[in-house]
Amino acid sequence: MASKPWSEAACGLGLAAAGGFFATFAWRMPRGPDPSAPGPGVAPLALGVLLILLGIAVAAASLMKRPLTAEAVEATPGDDGRRKLWIAAALLAACVILFEPAGFMLATFAFLLAGFTQLGGASWRRAAPAAAIAAGGLWLFFTKLLGVGLPYGLIGEILFR
């Protein structure tokens, strides 16, 4: 898929920053007495420097590109797609952060409720029971059938344990 020059440039600079991070901390690691016994710092230092150079090269190359064609512009998501993208990303981040403190059932129910209403366009009245059934079903499937441990959360720990 065609990419916008600025997104390529941002990725290039990000990679260069990552390379700088690795090279900086690898510099402080032992690099071994001589080439016959390379230490733990040699490979990450070399790779970090390589990543800096490559990141800068990618960023520079992208800024020298021609402007996007109309076809490439159509391939990028429209306003609605972008809105849903941001919502999905925010919901996922919230679910990850709250997964242990809130517990599986609460976090899952809230995530699916918000997902079905904001991403699927369902009404609260239809989304709530669907989210509750899905959360319960997944709990049974993963804990009882697959034997996977899922968190109770603070409230669940107080009430059920």
């Binding site: 916008k4 990000g14 390379g19 490979a43 990618v58 997902g115 699927g120």
Partner: protein, 498 residues
Amino acid sequence: MDAFTHLIGGLWIALQPKYLLYCFIGCFWGSIVGVLPGLGPLAGMALLLPLTYTLDPTGAIIMLSGIFYGAMYGGSTTSILMRIPGEAASVVTCIDGYEMAKKGRAGAALSIAAIGSFVGGVLSVLGLMLLAPAVADAMLAIGPAAEFTILATALVISMFAATGPIIKTLAMVALGLCLAMVGLDPLTATPRFTFGSLNLSDGFNFAAIAIGLFGVSEILMSFGQTIKDRPKAPPLREMLPNRQELRESAAPMIRGSGIGFLFGIVPGVGHIVSTFASYAVEKALSKKPEQFGKGAVAGVAGPETANNATTGAAMIPLLVLGIPAIPVTAVLLSALTVHGVQPGPQLIANNPQIFWGLIASMLVGNLMLVILNVPLVGLFVSMLRMPYGYLAPMVLLICVIGVYSLKASSFDLGVMLVAGFVGFALRRGGFDLAPLLLAFVLGDRIEINFRRALTISDGDPMIFLKGPAAQGALGMLVVILAGIVILRLRQRRKAAAG
């Protein structure tokens, strides 16, 4: 005859009820993940990885392999019915498969895809069975220098086979290798980039990285797509191809098997390249090339066969060399390692029940799939009719649960989240993520062998060029790179002429 004797032993293992059940679970779940856009075989396998920890190694690898080739089957369903590839390797099937569906031959297209997948799967398993023991014997004699050269060659080949400019691919490889170095140094146990964190001392969890990079980023990318057509399942009576279609499929299936097998052995090349190569070959050999793009049967039969043939062939570098040729087999490597089984030249000798049990299971599994996929098309279509706004949260949630279930670690969830966002950003920037994951998986072994080899040679770098194994790997690299360069030059000439 020896191989067939072992195969009989493998069948004795694979046909045990519990292994048949694991194979069925893997194939069924694989078909589902292949059908669902956003959940590819890699994410699907990573999600079931925790379940396999409770199984024995043979059962674990049988189930995970079932998901692998099951997903190859499932991906063709959405390609044919909706022109959306269920997974990346089914992109080519969209071209003629969807056109066949528009002409009312959706059932025939699905059946041809299923039969082709079966033929490709079986022939590649036979190739695996005959070649793998011979390659394993040859690999027993190599030392760290040759192993480094082979691993590095695999990485370089995968770089040239990836999409996009070489400079971007090299950046992905460098990033993957850097990420592999987080944790304790394998030779001296020196903490690297851990910052005192116990979580980071073990390094990044492979499944969290894989699901984030490929699963989460895929869902986020999919919000840009508009799905207009609601698919309809063809009636069961229209599922079978007619005689003409079967005749037109036969030769492409045989050729597709060969093409898929050859590409599957080469690290980094994988299913996408083999399916495109098969399509190009069929079009070049066809007496009616103008039919391609308008519902040519060979345009479905060849690529789908090549797709599944690649699966069996990709097992050779994994099982015999311990090199995951494609990211999906990295999950298999991870599962084997967790069970204390080290893939490599010793696997066939030390764990024959795993190797031959797996081969026999792949034969059984391919048969299961061709029987399953025809009547289950209705179920798959009903899943596809679910609006994406409902499907996406469910898939994301399954990713969260899958990663958490590995070590009950919220840190791993954070890794998955960050990997997902980074993967999304990199894909928007036009980067191919497969080399990143391959480099991440191979990074430790590449570094260990590099340092050991230099210690043995007292710092002389020429050690990496000595010995038949290293020279053979370099020879293969030269041949494959030459082939890639020639193909790209031809493509550029055609584009310039067009």
